[in-house]
């Protein structure tokens, strides 16, 4: 929406140390390098206390064409305001806007948690393949050999590598990444020609969730759009199953972030704990959203709900919420049946065995025994 159309919006702002107050934006003053500036006044008495307020350009609320859920309109002062809509009309327009936003192939790039995944993918490429490149033994199909990278092969990964190439890099690393860019592009073309191009960050559920993670939508709006006819009509059934992979992807990234932070702290270095918190929150939201969508889109596959619960439980452990995690893992066992999903059940049992080992030995042993039975049945070689 054009910046001047936010005039008339009521926004709750804290004024110094006081409680938040409602302010109405009265005049658009301009847009600069880093912010959008308005004149505002308290809703309670607009004529007495004029202020100037600057919002950062990155504030998504001012990038929307529909009034953000945290705004409302000063209807008495602006009775003819173009954003004066019924809630149904607002939701219809909100759906239009969000569906347009997720059309873009780069939509995921604006989501911090997803950019984090892309950064990690580039690091993984260097860590896993640079040495082979240097020795001249890099196999042609190297992009298919790394589970941390393969699902992320898309235009966003190309952009991320190109951004990396803008940094100063040792010459050999530069050559390797230049080679990677070309290979990624070729791989995308090949996947498109065989109609098997389904990268994680082009998944419509992933992209729509990203808009929630970035603050465009609240949870309720996210679910309404997900369940709208228009969204459902455009989704292909395989997308929900592909979306499933986003949870472990984000989980492992959050886990790595947490480990890095802890290692840095042990060395007495500082680290950004907000990054870890953000990744954990993103993973939790993804697991919850997946469960919601799986129930609606795939009612015949109840194990998906168990899958979401078990990953949500693991994510809760990253923020030390052990009791809640145990409860969720036990709930997950209801749908992860031994006959149909033995591997998922085995993992969940293993988590429960470890979590209860010190506090409730009997329960822990019971889960452990069942895990062993599955292990023997399937011939799993992993150590439990």
């Amino acid at each position: 929406m054009e910046a001047r159309h936010f005039v008339g919006a009521i926004i709750s702002l804290r004024d110094g140390h006081n409680e938040p107050r409602d302010w109405v934006l009265l005049k658009f003053l301009g847009e600069g390098k880093s912010g959008i500036v308005y004149q505002m006044a308290p809703v309670s008495n607009p004529s007495t206390e004029m202020r100037v307020v600057k919002f950062p350009s990155s504030d998504v609320r001012f990038q929307m064409t529909v009034l953000h859920n945290s705004f409302r309109l000063a209807e008495e002062m602006f009775p003819e305001h173009p954003q004066r809509l019924t809630s149904e009309e607002r939701l219809r327009r909100l759906t239009d806007e969000m569906l347009l936003r997720i059309e873009s192939s780069g939509a995921a790039f604006r989501v911090k948690a997803y950019r984090n995944l892309l950064r990690a993918a580039v690091l993984a490429l260097v860590a896993h393949f640079y040495e082979q490149f240097r020795l001249g033994t890099l196999p042609a199909s190297f992009l298919d050999r790394d589970d941390a990278v393969t699902p992320l092969i898309d235009e966003n990964l190309v952009c991320q590598i190109e951004f990396k190439l803008d940094e100063e890099l040792p010459n050999e690393i530069r050559c390797f990444l230049e080679c990677c860019v070309e290979d990624v592009k070729r791989r995308i073309d090949a996947l498109k020609t065989t109609d098997s191009y389904h990268p994680l960050l082009q998944n419509r559920f992933v992209k729509l969730l990203g808009l929630h993670l970035e603050g465009f939508l609240n949870w309720g709006e996210l679910l309404i759009i997900t369940n709208s006819d228009r969204f459902r009509k455009e989704c292909i059934s395989s997308e929900i199953l592909n979306f499933k992979d986003a949870i472990p992807f984000l989980y492992y990234r959050a886990s790595e972030e947490k480990q890095s932070l802890e290692a840095a702290r042990e060395k007495g270095e500082s680290g950004a704990s907000s990054e870890v918190v953000d990744m954990i929150l993103a993973t939790k939201a993804t697991a919850l959203y997946f469960e919601e969508t799986a129930v609606r889109y795939c009612p015949s596959l109840p194990y998906l709900s168990g899958f979401a619960k078990s990953w949500l439980a693991r994510t809760l452990l990253l923020s030390d919420e052990k009791n809640e995690a145990v409860a969720l893992l036990e709930e997950a066992l209801d749908t992860l049946t031994t006959d149909e999903y033995p591997l998922e059940r085995f993992d969940t049992l293993l988590d429960l065995t470890r979590l209860l080992r010190d506090s409730e030995r009997d329960r822990s042993n019971r889960y452990g025994r069942e895990a062993l039975e599955i292990k023997e049945r399937l011939g799993i070689t992993l150590s439990s």
Binding site: A3, F28, T65, G106, F109, F163, E168
Partner: protein
Amino acid sequence: MHDDQQHRYLQFGPFIFDSLELTVTKNGITLPFERRHYDILKCLIENRPEKVRCTDTCLSETLSSQPEINEKHRLLTKYLSELRGLMGKTEYRKYIRNTSKKRDPEGTGAFEFFGPVTHLQISSTGKPTTLTEAINPNLSSFQNAVIGANRKGGAYDVPLIEHLDIKECLIRLGCTKDLLSSEEAIIRNWLGQRVSEPLWRSEGPALYDALKERGESAKACSAVDAFVQHLVYCCAPRHGSVSSFYLSIRKVSEAYRMLQGEMQVGNASDLSPEGQVISVHNYLLSTNRLAFLPARLLLGGALPNKDDELFYFTGLFTFTLDDSDLAKIPGGLKALSSKSTDFAVTSFFANPDPSICPILKFSGHLREFPVTMSLSRKYVRFSSVTAAILPMVLSKKRLELRGIGAMRHNDDLHELHPLACGF
């Protein structure tokens, strides 16, 4: 730190610390340090690798306004935050780190300088030799040449205009023939003054007035004024006038790496992209390999026909916007149809989605030659000036752009590919 000549200059990364002039330069450009910033940096460097605290005597004067330790520490933190802004966040982190109150055994919180610092050798001119040889050789030698020549009152020597027929240019710009010799002298003098200015001044000696007084027409005065202004921009790239709007980090670092051996300079990582473009620009200037296109075209020359020929250009350009690009931005088409450009910065040029209008296409003219120009949106530079101009770009107003770049030819189309350009 010693104040004698031999220990006058200290270098760390792109910074040179001058203990006599009490200045700090970054990539050859003097940073606007206040005394307190200088003193704090000096204290940190002198005490390295030891930590510095607000209670240390070297900071007593700087922090004297606050009697309490907590207040002193808060003030020191504030000053260091200013210092970070002046040095640049990334560079600052390479050299200065803090220890929080919790981790500091003395409980006050501390700061330390780390990273290598070297003493620079002084040449006979009293200038640090590495300033000219390692950091930005051509900028300084070029500057020295200009300043030195002016000081001696001798002939002004700028490589770019050595081979430039200024008199012929003046004729083509509409000047009166019998005044050419004196006008050339005025122009050379003006150019010398402006190019040697250490800080950019918005107004300089009034060239327009000087020509007008000699009886030239207003049209000729304006034309010469604009022409010479471009010579200044071309000869003094350190002022950033040719890279204020756009700087292709990719192309600039490629050019820098390509010329690195020839220029005998350090790694690109030691310089910011601005530093790299200045180095390349100055090196090409000093070796007569940067063409000044306004003069070439004015004198009837053609557009460069080699892909690798770099030149300074200026021209009028209009942004060419494809509706399909705008349609990807929610509200974009509607806003433009209502002639609103309120969303130019936030939703368009600074849009974090890289697939939205990744290439900005312009069409324009370099003198009478029609050209197209493609800029990667990700390299657009945001400042208060560009933020004010970007809405004009979006509204397709014709804008004068100047910069350095190369030309590519596709059939009859001339494509301009700038390394950097500005308004």
